[in-house]
Symmetry: C2
Subunit: 356 residues, 2 copies
């Protein structure tokens, strides 16, 4: 037909534009661009060149509409108060891009997901969903399950209808326990977190089990919120204990809590590691700061995200794949907060701060 090739308005080039210029059918262009071998190599090359020249960029919405694949991964992320989630988000973005996946933020922050927000999962036809929220994202998970959207939990144990990848919390916590036990530290304590966090529970259990394996008395337990402030408050409580009851080492189930514990101790004049050793879990970059110098277990974030995205991809390709759980071992980072005996002459921020 002889309708004008370009509608005058400076529109973006589409597959149809390309097809007209190349003198082929739109379907051919579509196939050529995705390297379909049914199209001859020459034609493919020619169309590829043309696409570049005309600055062709595919319209994701059209692809989504037609194929049902959006290339979008829904992201449900927890409170901003724990930097771990920020690290996680950044790593996910970094790794998703080269895989042709984009992240659509469904929810960020504390609190449950509103229904209206969860609907975005459907509206935008996300291909999969990454969840890291502490609060059980029930409604969102239900939507995903009902619509065959694969879900991978990261740093959370799997719920119904979802896969999961976590750090090996039991092993990691056991490593920490062993470190402290080998140092001969007697009375131990765990600053743990209230109910909801599966991760925290696992870490606590891993620690307790190892201690009991060694036949030692069970650690004291302190329940705090899963925040810096939670750790800070528990540190006060520990410092308030009569000296005879004070633990010789504290395991805070997350680095952010450990930071609070360390600062709380410092404020109270409790010296770390001389008076009390402190260990955490997560391997946040900030744990390496001289003022914390925190012994911790580093979650293998890069590998975890890689695994999570891989699981997602696999399930997007084959929805009938069964759910799966992977737990990856983290690395023990030994630092000053749980050093033996004499503090480092330099590099440790825990000497007496005022004029010595």
């Amino acid at each position: 037909m002889d309708n004008p090739p370009l509608p005058a308005g400076a529109r973006r080039a589409t597959i149809v534009t390309l097809s007209r210029v190349a003198g082929v059918a739109p379907s051919t262009v579509s196939r050529a661009l995705k390297g379909d071998t049914r199209i001859s190599p020459e034609t493919r090359a020619r169309i590829g060149r043309l696409a570049k020249e005309l600055g062709y960029t595919p319209h994701a919405s059209a692809r989504t509409l037609s194929s049902g694949r959006s290339g979008l991964i829904g992201l449900v992320i927890g409170a901003s108060s724990n930097p771990f989630y920020t690290e996680l988000l950044h790593e996910a973005v970094r790794q998703a891009a080269p895989l042709g996946m984009r992240l659509l933020i469904i929810h960020a922050g504390p609190g449950p997901i509103e229904n209206s927000t969860a609907d975005a999962l459907l509206q935008y036809q996300v291909d999969g969903c990454l969840m890291t929220s502490v609060e059980l994202p029930s409604h969102a998970a239900a939507i995903c399950a009902a619509n065959g959207v694969p879900v991978v939990m990261v740093n959370r144990v799997a719920r119904m209808n979802s896969s999961a990848v976590t750090c090996d919390n039991l092993f990691g916590a056991a490593q920490l326990a062993r470190l402290l036990l080998e140092q001969g530290r007697r009375r131990l304590a765990v600053v743990r977190t209230s109910a909801s966090s599966s991760t925290g529970k696992e870490r606590e259990r891993g620690f307790l089990e190892r201690v009991s394996e060694w036949g030692r008395e069970p650690p004291l337990l302190f329940d705090g919120r899963s925040t810096y402030e939670g750790g800070y408050e528990m540190a006060q409580r520990i410092a308030d204990l009569p000296p005879a009851q004070r633990p010789e080492a504290v395991f805070a189930v997350s680095d952010i809590m450990a930071f609070g514990v360390l600062d709380g101790f410092r404020l109270r004049g409790v010296r770390v590691p001389q008076d009390i050793a402190v260990v955490g879990f997560d391997g946040l970059p900030a744990a390496a700061r001289p003022c914390y110098d925190l012994t911790t277990v580093e979650q293998p974030l890069q590998a975890m995200i890689g695994r999570a995205l891989g699981m997602l991809q696999a399930r997007i390709g084959n929805p009938s794949l069964p759910d799966e759980t992977a737990s990856l071992r983290g690395r023990l980072l030994m630092r000053g907060s749980a050093a033996m005996a004499a503090p480092h002459p330099a590099g440790s921020a825990f000497g007496s701060p005022a004029a010595g």
Copy 2:
């Protein structure tokens, strides 16, 4: 035609499904659902009810394709090392949802935006773009400009073809300067950041101007990276100064740098605020921690994001709107790190930590 109303496969309800059940045309359903007054109130109500019953959820891709509106806001965000960006992201997500906007992460992290990543802006037809990256996102900005996608920079001065909303950096920094000057602090210092950050430059300038207005000698300048470590290193440098040359107060141009400065001082036994006062800028939640207790200017993040999204909305509705820059005043948070004379008896973490 008499094709079966439901194709047996459990597909989601669409507008066509609704139209068949309601016995009206699809166009009527579309209009009814968005409250078009040309449709009678009864019909609207009826269709609304039906939509609920059948669990209708619109397909964003179809809407995008047809109307050119995706409801997506592209998000370009800087390095994870500064928690401010995390706060910003969370606030943006929180405020965007009720406005029917979703955030598509185009880029997160340090480093420039790859071209392939920036293409997502076009592929997903984002309606607008929020940018907070330190690195000038040139390619992405160019794409937006070329395609009429409105851009709002947050916490950055506007570049060509973009609007911006910032905290009033000059005013805020001037407030800090005034506070220190009024306390009679003489030798001042600025821990500033290397070239690229417009925000940092403004804060520095605001501070210097106010100092010079008072006719005082210009502050010492220390160039550090815009990170915790940058501040930490500069604190060492300051502590290394011979006592006579040491400043009496330090303005770190961001809270994260101020944290580094504070920890650096603590490690070196420099007491804050007795020996040196420290002030920051941003108002991070962590600045309130007892171990920092940092005097700072709080960016009105909520208002800033509200304004940014508003600008975006306005420009999406009317693309010919000229670029605009808003700068909102922050609140001075006076805390212990720049307190006068005697340190707080309690609540300040800066008393002598060992048994007093």
